[in-house]
Structures are given as structure tokens and as C-alpha cells.
Amino acid sequence: GAGVSQTPSNKVTEKGKYVELRCDPISGHTALYWYRQSLGQGPEFLIYFQGTGAADDSGLPNDRFFAVRPEGSVSTLKIQRTERGDSAVYLCASSPTGTGIHEQYFGPGTRLTVT
């Protein structure tokens, strides 16, 4: 079956611009996660959705970052006034349920470059 998909695969933007990154999870998965992976590092947690609501957004670095999941499926990560330090690979993962710890299925990521 189809895995987690993310678009675009690459995004180059200028400092100060606004960007949106999209994640399409595996059908039927209620839990959705966003992680950020900087060069040479492991992924770092940003935000977790259970259904439509953001159950934990403690990993968002500041208020320029925001994410939505209005219908409990597709999610969009939004970054305002981008900075060069935002350059990273943004990974999305989904899991069948948000109750308890389960395997998370990762998408291929969106590589964001801020010039």
C-alpha cells in the first residue's frame, strides 16, 4: 500500500519568505508527527497530532512555526519569515494510533533550503 508522502521533495526559498510543507499520512493512521533533521543530526520532534488536534506542540522552536491537520488526514507545516537556520529536512511520520508507543512510518522528507 501507499506509504507516507511529502511534498515538495525540495524547497528553496529566500530568507523572510513563507513556506508550506505538506504531509499525506498512511490511510487510516490517526497519529501524525513532524520532525526536523538538521545536517549530521538525528530527527528532532516538532509536533504531534492525534486526529485533528495538536496534542503536543512542545517541539516547535518558536511561534514562526505552525502546523494544521484540519480533517485528521493531510497535515501542513507552515513556517513564517523563514531564516537560514530553518534549513533542514522536515520529516513526517504516521502511526496507526496515538495511544501508546508504536512504530512510526516515515515519509521521504522535504529538504528546505533558506538562502
Binding site: Q41, P43, Y48, D56, I101, H102, Q104, Y105, F106, P108
Partner: protein, 114 residues
């Protein structure tokens, strides 16, 4: 605070040789542990996981890992490495809080000599 340490940034092995990648974790309760592999341009793929029970767990692609509570370790092993195993390997611990998020180590890049 929870954390995962992968002390080896790079490891190079010859094809056919055995492999061990180290992982140490810091977690206050019984850990849920994972190993993921990331190939260039690919997403993270789960190799294996430990939740409870037998401390030696088998995964895909011939990998295994052993949970040692006394050493806070979860090392990944493979008896004979193939050139296609060259990739980045990440150890992670699952956090049982409001998010059940994963905390990852910084990864170990495996290079395979022909």
C-alpha cells in the same frame, strides 16, 4: 531527561565482515527502543524494535539487537555485511508522555568496503 547516544559517527567495515553499532540510552522507565535505517534520499525504515520480552530481537535484512538494561544499551548487530547495507543508522527511544514521540541519536554512518 531522555537521550540517546550513538558514540560512533562513522564506521567502515569490509563486505562480509560482522558489524556492531552502539547505542546507549537514558530513560527513567522501561524503554521502548528502535533502530531505523536511512538511505540517501529515502525515508527512515524500521529495522527492529524492543518493547518487552526476549532481550534479543530479530529484525529485517538479517539485523538483530540486544537490550541490556544493566548497560543501558541496545546495540545493533549483523553477522555478515552486504554492500547494500551502507546507510545511516539511527537508534531511538520512545517517550511515554502526551505524544509518544521518538528521541533519536545523532546516527552512525556505515561505509562498506568491497
Amino acid at each position: 531527561a531522555q537521550s540517546v547516544t550513538q558514540p560512533d559517527i562513522h564506521i567502515t567495515v569490509s563486505e562480509g565482515a560482522s558489524l556492531e553499532l552502539r547505542c546507549n540510552y537514558s530513560y527513567g522507565a522501561t524503554p521502548y527502543l528502535f533502530w531505523y535505517v536511512q538511505s540517501p534520499g529515502q525515508g527512515l525504515q524500521l529495522l527492529l524494535k524492543y518493547f518487552s520480552g526476549d532481550t534479543l530481537v530479530q529484525g529485517i535484512k538479517g539485523f538483530e539487537a540486544e537490550f541490556k538494561r544493566s548497560q543501558s544499551s541496545f546495540n545493533l548487530r549483523k553477522p555478515s555485511v552486504h554492500w547494500s547495507d551502507a546507510a545511516e543508522y539511527f537508534c531511538a527511544v520512545g517517550v511515554k508522555d502526551s505524544s509518544y514521540k521518538l528521541i533519536f541519536g545523532s546516527g552512525t554512518r556505515l561505509l562498506v568496503r568491497p
